[in-house]
């Protein structure tokens, strides 16, 4: 038999497509032809496979070898096809049984000595294989835990080509060294991966209003803008927001892990991301770093890595304008579509956005006796850097002032920690999930204004009060919609069935950075008692 056939996966964004790999050994001078729109990295696979096969003690056929990757019109790139190509050729040569690999999906890059190397994107590739009806994948050993996350598919972990050949022939596998994991930037991180693990909400002193804003943002998935002078605690607050979010649901966890797998940042020992990610790119980040990009292999950017988590842009006005403008599509759609000449990719990008900014370029324009010396024009320029359309999509706006001594004294020992607030957030999220079951939305922050007004209206007293402020021009129509969403989150945090006047008032204050009532919803009398 001179035909070998197996399968591999090509990735477009987070979606994988199963690719059939066929090898034919025909009459002709020794030569290897690879057809099916391979790019350079894939074309080099010819030489890697040949060297790996020979150095694994197998014979490379001294004939014309044609390898076809189909669908032929789909451009393919990357090195993850090596294992499939090498084994398809060996199957065509009759060196390994053809039947076991015919319907399996094989992934992995080969080293010249026949060792397998780890590849990115094994999780989404395995998902695609399972959806295409494959029952078996063969992956580099180090990626096996990642592939094992997918249900209904058996994972064969291999260390080298010789190992794979021995398994297929039913022989004793050789004792090869383990596969090395992908080198990621995390290996170089001096702060370690647990940088955020020890953070507690109780670390933040004072700032009762800002703390509540963070709590509401976490509960309803609302975007948050924090404005305040240096040292007011904006960064501290933002870093503690992910800790308030509940663990990712299984489906969300797979989505997030798939994105991280493609970016190659998924640790080998923890193949599933179970906690909401937190990304805080520096303000010098390029648009490709934030949005994602690359010419042939399109990689996800920070906003996709923050999917189902928190994207924190500290010193937001310092970011390049086009980077900030690029936030508009994901804020609207929950995904980002990146187009390049050869292909386009869509990545999920559904995150809670937290922007932090100084009140003015010098940062001192706050309080009654402001020492700021910035000109009006400079202040205006600074503020305008975060454009109207982006501001418009942010629900909560809060001015943060440096903590005063009496605030710290007042609350000695009485600050709520992460666990207390997180349990409130979890309860509020559970209520929302129940309310929005059967809809595409999960949290209040996602529900469009018209749907909210039509299906889940607030109490008439609250609506009338908001209408007055709208008529007086205190709040825009879009702002009023935002306030309605916030009112629902406030009600959910408190456990009320429907937002009343009090909730709408709090929402209005959250929206416009007005002083919050001292009594938080949990302290207020229950709606039933008022009525």
């Amino acid at each position: 038999m001179s035909l070998g056939r197996t399968r591999a996966v090509t990735l477009e964004g987070v979606r994988g497509r199963v690719v059939e790999v066929e090898a034919d050994i025909g009459s002709g001078l020794p030569k290897m032809v690879l057809v099916g729109l391979p790019d350079t990295s894939l074309n080099e696979s010819k030489d890697r496979c040949r060297a790996a096969v020979i150095n694994s003690g197998e014979t490379w056929p001294n004939r014309r070898v044609t390898v076809a990757l189909s669908p032929a019109s789909l451009p393919k790139s990357g090195s993850q096809y090596d294992l499939a190509i090498a084994l398809a050729v060996l199957a065509a040569a009759g060196a390994v049984p053809a039947e076991p690999i015919r319907d399996a999906v094989l992934l992995g890059e080969l080293a010249l000595d026949g060792r397998l190397r780890a590849v990115p994107g094994v999780l989404p590739a395995t998902l695609a294989a399972a959806q295409a009806g494959c029952r078996r994948v063969m992956v580099p050993e180090v990626n096996a835990t990642e592939a094992g996350v997918v249900d209904g598919i058996s994972v064969v972990a291999v260390r080298s080509l010789a190992h794979a050949v021995a398994l297929l022939r039913g022989e004793e596998p050789p004792d090869d060294p383990p596969v090395e994991p992908l080198a990621t930037t995390e290996n170089l991180s001096w702060q370690g991966e647990d940088r955020w693990s020890g953070l507690d909400f109780a670390d933040v002193r004072g700032q009762p209003a800002a703390r509540r804003c963070v709590e509401v943002a976490a509960a309803g998935g609302h975007h948050l803008f924090l404005e305040g002078p240096p040292g007011a605690g904006k960064t501290m607050l933002a870093e503690r927001l992910p800790g308030l979010l509940p663990d990712l649901e299984p489906e969300a966890s797979l989505e997030v892990s798939a994105v991280h797998s493609i970016a190659g940042v998924l640790p080998a020992d923890a193949p599933l991301v179970t906690r909401p990610p937190f990304l805080d790119p520096h303000h010098t980040a390029s648009i490709a770093a934030i949005v994602g990009g690359g010419s042939r292999i399109i990689r996800p950017g920070a906003m996709s890595l923050a999917h189902r988590g928190v994207l924190f842009l500290d010193e937001a006005p310092e970011f390049a304008c086009h980077v900030l403008e690029a936030l508009r599509q994901p804020l609207e759609r929950g995904s980002i579509c990146i187009g390049r000449a050869e292909r386009s990719a869509t990545f999920p990008a559904h995150f809670v956005l937290v922007l932090a900014a100084n009140p003015c370029p010098c940062g001192l324009d706050f309080g009654k006796d402001a020492r700021c010396e910035c000109t009006q024009a400079a202040k205006r320029r600074y503020k305008d850097r975060v454009s109207g359309p982006v501001r418009d999509r942010i629900d909560i706006y809060r001015k943060v002032e440096p903590v005063r001594r009496h605030e710290v004294r007042d609350e000695l020992g009485g600050v709520e920690g992460t666990s207390v607030v997180a349990s409130r957030v979890a309860a509020a999220r559970a209520r929302q999930q129940q309310r929005y079951s059967g809809t595409p939305w999960r949290v209040n922050g996602e529900v469009p204004g018209p749907a909210l007004r039509a299906t889940w209206p607030v109490h008439a007293t609250g609506a009338a009060w908001l209408e007055e402020h709208l008529a007086a021009g205190h709040i825009s129509a879009r702002g009023a919609d935002r306030a309605l969403r916030l009112a629902w989150t406030v009600a959910d945090l408190r456990g009320d069935d429907r937002p009343m006047l009090d909730h709408v008032k709090i929402a209005y204050a959250l929206r416009l950075s007005e002083p919050l009532p001292a009594a938080w919803p949990t302290d207020l009398p229950l709606a039933a008692e008022v009525a």
Partner: protein
């Protein structure tokens, strides 16, 4: 020394061509010509069986340390073999239905029998 090495290579090549010719005869072909030359170059063997004419290039090596002898036939050489085949047909009154370019790789180890690898229709 240089000339003796060249002589040794020539002798190896001749021996390889003999082995290849024997292989062709054993497989039922008739050798029509050997070492036919023209201004384009040389054809090692022209052989025929029925309606099929084969223009055969023979590559001989003593070891496979530097790759199989078949790999010594470059695409350029294969293209020249096509032109040589056309020239040979033009100059001989043979009208075969099918013309094939074959390459025979011969490995002649220091000990043991020569190994013959016959690839048909390469160009």
């Amino acid at each position: 020394m240089g000339s003796s090495a060249t002589a040794a290579r020539t002798a190896l090549g001749r021996y390889g061509e003999d082995v290849a010719a024997r292989h062709l005869v054993e497989s039922g072909m008739t050798v029509l010509a050997r070492n036919w030359r023209c201004d384009l170059g040389e054809i090692d063997i022209v052989a025929r069986r029925g309606d099929v004419l084969a223009v055969v290039e023979v590559k001989t090596r003593a070891t496979t340390n530097f790759g199989s002898p078949l790999e010594g036939v470059t695409p350029r050489k294969a293209a020249r073999l096509r032109r040589l085949a056309a020239r040979w047909l033009a100059e001989h009154p043979v009208k075969p239905a099918e013309v094939r370019i074959d390459v025979i790789g011969v490995v002649i180890p220091h000990r043991g029998a020569p190994q013959v690898d016959h690839v048909q229709a390469v160009a």
